[in-house]
Amino acid sequence: MKQQSEKNTIIESLIKKYKDEKGNVIPLLQDIQDAFGYIPEDAVDLISKRLEIPESKLYGVATFYAMYRHRPGGRHLIQLCTNVSCMIMGAEMLVNFLKNRYGLEEGGTTPDGRFSLMIMECIGGCDTAPSMLVNNDFYGNLTKEKIEEILEKYK
């Protein structure tokens, strides 16, 4: 992971961006997650000090929203939906496929650190169910073969 001091300078610069903006917590946490892949504990400490927001409240926010992650994950994040529309179109089978083919469990990371898997509630891709996101890209009408083909692009 990045050097501690280097890490701090990144966090400090991100905080400065939102210093005097009202309602800055959620976008700031998102930027921190984009920079490190997750929200490190010391980032929350620093935000609390600089923006004078009680750290207990920050932790409350950081753990409320499902898309904030608190542990480093794989290089690429797979977010597969299994909600009702996707479920009745076979999403469960794809979950098993990811487990058998890539050794990916819900919330887990492949041993080689390439992929992490998050099971999502609904990502608004019901017309092309089953659907998934990989990092920020959307893919629909998934089959086992199509998933394999897609994941090839993410090294």
Partner: protein, 347 residues
């Protein structure tokens, strides 16, 4: 003022007052677990639901303010069934510890379970299990017993201004904790313990020292700073086992600080002086009261004769009572005959 009817009783209440408060003014007690007069309304526990003429759904009395001509019913078979089911749900996620729980006999949840006759929760299911204990020296935090009423979070944030704890996570996993579930690190005022309706937050050195039975209460004034908070000492077998404060006390309204609430174990410290001591060739020897008093009075009379009363001085204490201070200066002035008196005030 607003005129309304609660359970057929005409009531006049202040504009903006919650129905729950207006009802309590008239002695109508509506069950509530997350309401506290000092705190902002929350509406989380849903026990204080009442029916209002013209409203489709029951509303919580703690969040709904009175309005002119409102007709409120605080109880009906339907409302009681909803309350009982709500309690059932709370108990289904609560450890069955009443046998050993420190709060037994003073627990709002236990009282309500008794009132609604719930022996077994009807909806069994997974219960929150937290093995990690909080290492702070003052407050035992058993979050399994927490019913998420949020009173501790609100009093720490709104009244104490420290915000040491808040809700974390979501849904059934929601938990009140310090950031990253570190050990509690705050002013340890214990206001959270004061408002906690269950055994989730209790003083660490209260545990096992005794509960409701044969525990006496003595109201007194705090021995520490000059604010003069009212203390209630809980006594068992001639020992202080707990300190609290009545919420209607004028100076502190039941709130205390770490010293007042938790700093009482010096009274029973083994180091307490138990006998008079006289120093003989550099070492203190225990002696009887007569021997000590005779020694002192003999020496005082000798010094007074030899050097006069002004060779004697007296230092009284800002921690002793008015009566003791008065008597002390009377002793120095009338018995000894000097004005050499002071006390260790920080002025």
């Amino acid at each position: 003022m607003v005129k309304l009817r609660i359970d057929g009783i005409d009531i006049e209440a202040l504009e903006g007052m919650a129905i729950l408060e207006a009802a309590r003014l008239k002695g109508i007690d509506i069950p509530a677990l997350c309401y506290h007069p000092k705190l902002s309304p929350y509406g989380g526990c849903r026990l204080c639901i009442v029916e209002i003429k013209g409203m489709p759904r029951p509303v919580t009395a703690c969040t709904t303010t009175v309005s002119e001509g409102m007709e409120v019913r605080t109880t009906s078979p339907y409302i009681e069934r909803l309350r009982k089911t709500n309690l059932d749900l709370l108990l289904s996620d609560h450890p069955y510890d009443c046998m050993v729980c420190q709060k037994a006999g003073e627990c709002d949840l236990q009282d309500l379970a008794y009132q609604y006759g719930i022996r077994e929760p009807r909806f069994k299911g997974e219960r929150r299990i937290y093995t990690k204990r909080d290492g702070n020296p003052f407050i035992e935090r058993d979050m399994e017993k927490c019913i998420l009423c949020g009173k501790c979070v609100r009093i720490c944030d709104e009244v104490q201004g420290v915000s040491a704890i808040d809700f974390a996570y979501r849904g059934l996993k929601t938990k009140v904790c310090p950031p990253f579930e570190r050990d509690l690190d705050c002013e340890f005022c214990g206001q959270c313990v004061m408002v906690c309706p269950t055994g989730s937050l209790v003083g660490k050195n209260w545990i096992g020292k005794g509960r409701a039975r044969n525990v006496g209460e003595v109201n007194t004034t705090c021995p520490y700073c000059g604010v003069g908070c009212s203390l209630t000492l809980h006594i068992k077998d001639n020992k202080i086992i707990r300190v609290s404060s009545k919420e209607d006390s004028v100076v502190n309204e039941g709130m205390l600080c770490a010293k007042g609430r938790f700093g009482y174990d010096f009274v029973a410290s083994p180091d307490r002086l138990k006998t008079p001591l006289i120093k003989r060739n550099g070492r203190f020897e225990p002696v009887s009261w007569d021997e000590a008093l005779d020694y002192i009075s003999k020496r005082l009379k000798e010094i007074k004769e030899k050097y006069g009363p002004d060779a004697i001085g007296g230092l009284s204490s800002a921690r002793c009572t008015n009566e003791e201070n008065y008597l002390f200066q009377k002793f120095m002035r009338a018995a000894v005959g000097t004005n050499n008196i002071d006390h260790c005030a920080r002025h």
